[in-house]
């Protein structure tokens, strides 16, 4: 019921029914205004539930917003803003909220207590996963996901400040004013749509003006400060190391196609003040969960801030003076108060409505909405007709963020609740209600004092002026659970009641952590915000201990649920991994080459020609180009590291197993790099361009790792070496020209053609390509006479196109990764498929490359007996010799007669190819004592793909074993 007709309303729907609401007010307020009481079904028992709170702590009123791919489940109706056309749906009910068939669970409730599932569905064991669990999960639950990709936009962002103030109630506003006026760089964040906290929800004065007006003035002043950033609709969700905070912003304004819905902030603050206020806790009395039973402060909020009366005849039940405030505010707003029930004996209340002191609510009635309550007063039971009960068991300071770094809060007896333990999170100071200061005056005072301290710490000179405000004492006599029959709900979201907790204690789950896991109290999105202290009190009572001895479970981030979409924002497509494109990318794509990922790079798989319908046809043809004519391949993706300095050669000697200081200028050499533990890290070549100048190449995959490794050597292990390294990978576009006609092709682009003996194998140097200085290397990864020609990247595209056209006129063409792989397997050249991190130089037959004339990384460890054991798996070639020609990578090797089971495995395959050159299925792999077993026929078994083949063990160099083709 609205207290006054609003000026401006918009239409929205709830379960298809049309309602009107004020734009920006919570959907909960609009539903209450429309007299909608039943809004949800509970998690486990499908009990009818209504709106309970007026904030992010809401346990009952979880709804789904939108439909289809854009449906968002488990949104709190208390946080969801009314907007034109908004579609809201209830959850966890079928066929409808009123007639929910699963409500039968509630009738079976005597059997469904805590631990029921574990006890009942234990046997037979396999049934749990296949039958019981899916059925139970379907019955219990919250909103569901659409299963469709979400098209909504989300964001992530970073922010920095000197002072982060979390919460903009009286303490937060006062802290922001104090620090902001002193010139501090402040971020003030609040999860509400407007700043002011309880000042917007209570009737009280500050400096003689209404609290809400004072708050509005404060916000206006703050908004005018350049050094203050106001973030509304932003919940600080977690406190992390070194002053980092997570915060979830619900982006303001109506949903629009390209507008982000939420933004997840990482805020870095030198200091932070927690002004998160306090949350009201329920009282456990029988059937305290009927729609219409609400938190007292929420009732005041709906009345005072949104002009909505949650009922026509309201009853108030509490154990402290704040409850009286509810009754008075209702009367002032013209709402009938049926009764004020105070559990304390020692209070005197004068009022125009019935007052019962020393009384308790012992029962409630009403199926889909509250109709009446029963109270016990002076030994008698009395029934009161009422459609709304405002309850308050006291206030729990919002200590959550102070627990995020694993510190527990401290029990404070006089407020019967926990307060933050000092220094719980370095740099985070609590102030106001979250610190146990419950009066407005105390909140303003603490906010100002803490902010002033921190401002001084920042070298500023703050002035403290605190306005005059209400300073009423908080007098509370704890009331946790009311005696009597019936279920008394403690954790509404998880459907945990007093008896569940007592049962946990009875079954010896006495520790608070065990009780939590046994009953599920305090789990799920709500994280026990409202229920924890009450649950602990009940557990303490059941185990005969005090609450402070009972202790508390810890609060973990996030304070409110954070959508995965916001945390993963920006991490799709290019945002997931940058795309690195070579200069020949466009030309390759234009030729129809499918591009495959190689690390972050995209490289062409193969270049299909007309009439080719299968990649193998293209691949076989490209292999043939290289073996018989000439092929061109972009090899720019290999890491290229420029090394200069007096100790450049010394650095290479130290990181490679073999000698580089003896390499002549104008020559390149193959090098093997080990990790310090003796295993192979990478291989490649280094070319010497000057006495103190080398260019190292790395594999595409290990380029970053090798760069890091070289810096490690120069900075950590050998700071005595005077050498400098710089990646030049991006500077050069480099192409392999491989095949018998490679020199012919090369000479079509060189300004000064080279002769047969000018560039022997492994020669390197500068050349002129159409007037541009390039670099030429006589190196081969195919076993053919081959060169690599590098030019500055800006010329890469045109050189590639030119080379491919010329190669085609010579009967060759471009080749891609597939052909490159076949060519290197035919020659037994290794890649990271073979040097996968567990292989040693000995395993790949290169132990002789470890020079003994110098120290190098990995040299000591490589000599350990275990790493040169002759029983180790050694690199071999494998050739299909049986009916099955197809070999697969990752398959296991067995002796012919052995059963193909793990203990009999003798090795595995790492790379496979069909060799058109040899017309055979080939593989590289590792085999126990493999080098001594050439000629033996063994069995390859791929258990996953169910392929079995007979293979002959041979030398890994299948083709041109003496290497004459590359040298010629």
């Amino acid at each position: 019921m609205r207290l006054q007709a609003p000026e401006n309303t918009v239409g929205f729907t709830f379960d298809g029914q049309r309602y009107r609401g004020v734009p920006g007010e919570p959907v909960a307020a609009a539903l209450l205004a429309a007299g909608v009481r039943l809004v949800a079904r509970s998690f486990k028992y499908h009990r009818p539930r209504g709106i309970m709170s007026a904030g992010s702590e809401e346990q009952n009123a979880l709804v789904t917003v939108g439909r289809g791919a854009q449906a968002e489940p488990n949104v709190r109706a208390t946080m969801l803003e009314v907007a034109e056309g908004l579609e809201v749906f209830s959850q966890n009910a079928w066929p409808s909220l009123k007639h929910d068939v699963m409500a039968v669970n509630d009738l079976a409730s005597p059997f469904l207590g805590a631990g029921f599932y574990y006890k009942t569905f234990m046997w037979p064991k396999p049934f749990w996963e296949k039958l019981y669990e899916p059925v139970i999960r379907r019955a219990a639950g919250l909103g569901g996901l659409s299963g469709q990709p979400n098209k909504d936009r989300y964001e992530k962002a970073f922010a920095f400040c000197d002072l982060l103030i979390i919460g903009a109630g009286p303490a937060g506003l006062m802290a922001a004013l104090t620090a902001g006026r002193a010139g501090a760089d402040v971020i003030l964040a609040d999860e509400d749509t407007a700043m002011g906290g309880r000042l917007l929800r209570e009737v009280e004065d500050i400096d003689g003006q209404p609290g809400a007006d004072w708050a509005a003035d404060a916000v206006a002043e703050l908004a005018g400060m350049q050094n203050v950033r106001l973030m509304t609709r932003t919940t600080v969700t977690g406190a992390y190391d070194q002053g980092t905070f997570g915060a979830l912003e619900r982006v303001a304004g109506p949903r629009q196609a390209r507008k982000p819905l939420e933004c997840f902030w990482r805020i870095v603050a030198k200091h932070a003040i927690l002004c998160a206020g306090a949350l009201e806790r329920p009282i456990a009395f029988p059937n305290n969960d009927r729609p219409g039973i609400m938190m007292a402060a929420a009732v005041r909020a709906y009345v005072n801030r949104w002009g909505v009366a949650p009922g026509k005849t309201v009853t108030v039940f509490g154990n402290h003076d704040d409850a009286h405030r509810t009754a008075h505010d209702l009367v002032a707003a013209g709402v009938k108060v049926a009764a004020l029930i105070d559990s304390r004996d020692d209070v005197e209340i004068k009022a125009d409505f019935p007052v019962y002191t020393g009384a308790q609510v012992i029962g409630t009635k009403g199926r889909h909405a509250l109709e009446s309550i029963a109270i016990s007063h002076g030994g008698e039971t009395r029934e009161i007709r009422t459609d709304c009960l405002a309850m308050s068991g006291g206030w729990n300071p919002s200590v959550h963020l102070t627990c995020h770094m694993n510190r527990r809060p401290t029990w404070r007896e006089e407020i019967a609740s926990f307060v933050p333990t000092p220094e719980a999170v370095p740099g985070l100071m609590p102030a106001g209600a979250c610190n146990g200061a419950f009066s407005t005056a105390a909140c303003l005072q603490e906010g100002a004092a803490v902010a002033a301290d921190l401002a001084r710490d920042l070298g500023l000179k703050p002035k403290v002026t605190v306005p005059v405000a209400d300073d009423g004492a908080y007098r509370i006599t704890p009331l946790w659970a009311v005696p009597g029959k019936g279920r008394k709900w403690v954790d509404f979201q998880n459907d945990v009641h007093v008896k569940d907790i007592k049962l946990a204690a009875q079954e010896n789950f006495c520790s608070v952590e065990h009780m939590k896991r046994y009953t599920t109290q305090g789990m799920a999105p709500d994280q026990g915000k409202s229920s924890n202290v009450l649950a602990l009190a009940v557990l303490a009572d059941a185990t005969g201990r005090g609450i402070s001895e009972t202790g508390t479970t810890t609060f973990r981030p996030p304070f409110v649920p954070v959508s995965i979409a916001s945390m993963g924002a920006g991490s799709q497509g290019k945002g997931f991994a940058p795309e690195r494109l070579t200069t020949s990318h466009n030309a390759s794509v234009a030729r129809g080459a499918p591009m495959i990922e190689a690390g972050l790079w995209y490289r062409p798989s193969y270049f299909p020609r007309q009439g080719e319908t299968h990649w193998r046809q293209s691949c076989d043809r490209e292999v043939g180009h290289v073996r018989n004519a000439v092929g061109v391949c972009d090899v720019s993706t290999l890491g290229k590291i420029d090394i200069q300095g007096p100790d450049a050669a010394g650095l290479l000697d130290f990181v490679y197993t073999n000698m580089f200081s003896t390499l002549k200028v104008g020559r390149a050499r193959y090098g093997l790099m080990l990790r310090e533990d003796g295993h192979v890290m990478d291989d490649g070549t280094a070319a010497r361009f000057g006495e103190q100048h080398f260019v190292m190449t790395t594999t595409t995959a290990a380029a970053g790792q090798v760069m890091r490794h070289l810096e490690f050597v120069l900075q950590v292990l050998r700071p005595d070496l005077d050498a400098r390294i710089m990646s030049v990978t991006e500077q050069w576009a480099q192409f392999a020209l491989a095949g018998p006609y490679s020199r012919t092709l090369l000479n079509t682009v060189l300004d000064d053609p080279i002769g047969g003996s000018d560039w022997p194998s492994m020669a390197c140097g500068d050349v002129q390509v159409a007037g541009v200085t390039g670099r030429l290397f006589r190196i081969s990864f195919s076993g053919e006479h081959a060169y690599e020609l590098a030019v500055p990247a800006r010329y890469g595209d045109s050189l590639f196109r030119l080379l491919v056209a010329q190669a085609e006129s010579l009967g060759g063409g471009a080749y891609g990764m597939e052909a490159l792989n076949v060519l290197r397997i035919e020659k037994g050249f290794i890649t990271h498929a073979e040097i996968h991190g567990r292989t040693t130089a000995y395993d790949i037959g290169m132990e002789r490359m470890i020079s003994r004339k110098k120290d190098c990384i990995g040299q000591s460890a490589a000599t350990r007996p275990g790493l040169v054991d002759q029983d180790r798996d050694q690199l071999v070639g494998l050739k299909a010799v049986g009916a099955v020609k197809q070999l697969t990578a990752g398959a296991f090797l067995f002796e012919q007669a052995a059963a193909p089971v793990r203990v009999n495995a003798q090795g595995y395959t790492t790379s496979v190819a069909y060799s058109p050159t040899l017309d055979a299925g080939l593989a590289l792999g590792f085999l126990k004592r493999g080098r001594a077993r050439h000629g033996e026929v063994i069995r390859m078994v791929d258990h996953l793909r169910e392929i079995e083949a007979m293979v002959e063990v041979c030398d890994p160099v299948f083709f041109d074993p003496d290497g004459g083709r590359a040298r010629g």
């Binding site: 992390y240 310090e676 490690f712 900075q715 950590v716 292990l717 120290d855």
Partner: protein, 87 residues
């Protein structure tokens, strides 16, 4: 988590690559023997308290940094350029 790079100032942890214990600074001589190399390569303390490890400011200035931090409180007590650490 934030780490103060001696060159770049305080930066987010995501800019750094974590290597491991700063024992790596004390590489044994080639002939130091199996035990010394075993300790250097594999054996690590697991302190509940202060520890020193090596981080690489990979997405920043490229400095290797010795970070002294507390494994219990996560406090970072000190950061130094590895190249400047006496050994």
């Amino acid at each position: 988590m934030r780490i103060t790079c001696p060159h770049c100032g305080e930066r987010d942890r995501r800019e750094f690559y974590y290597q491991g214990d700063a024992v790596a600074l004390a590489r044994p001589a080639p002939d130091a023997g199996a035990q010394a190399w075993d300790d250097y390569l594999h054996n690590r303390d697991n302190p509940a308290g202060d520890t020193q490890d090596l981080w690489f400011h990979e997405a920043g200035c490229g400095a290797w940094i010795v970070v002294t931090r507390n494994t219990v409180t996560h406090a970072v007590a000190d950061t130094k350029l590895a190249a400047m650490v006496k050994r």
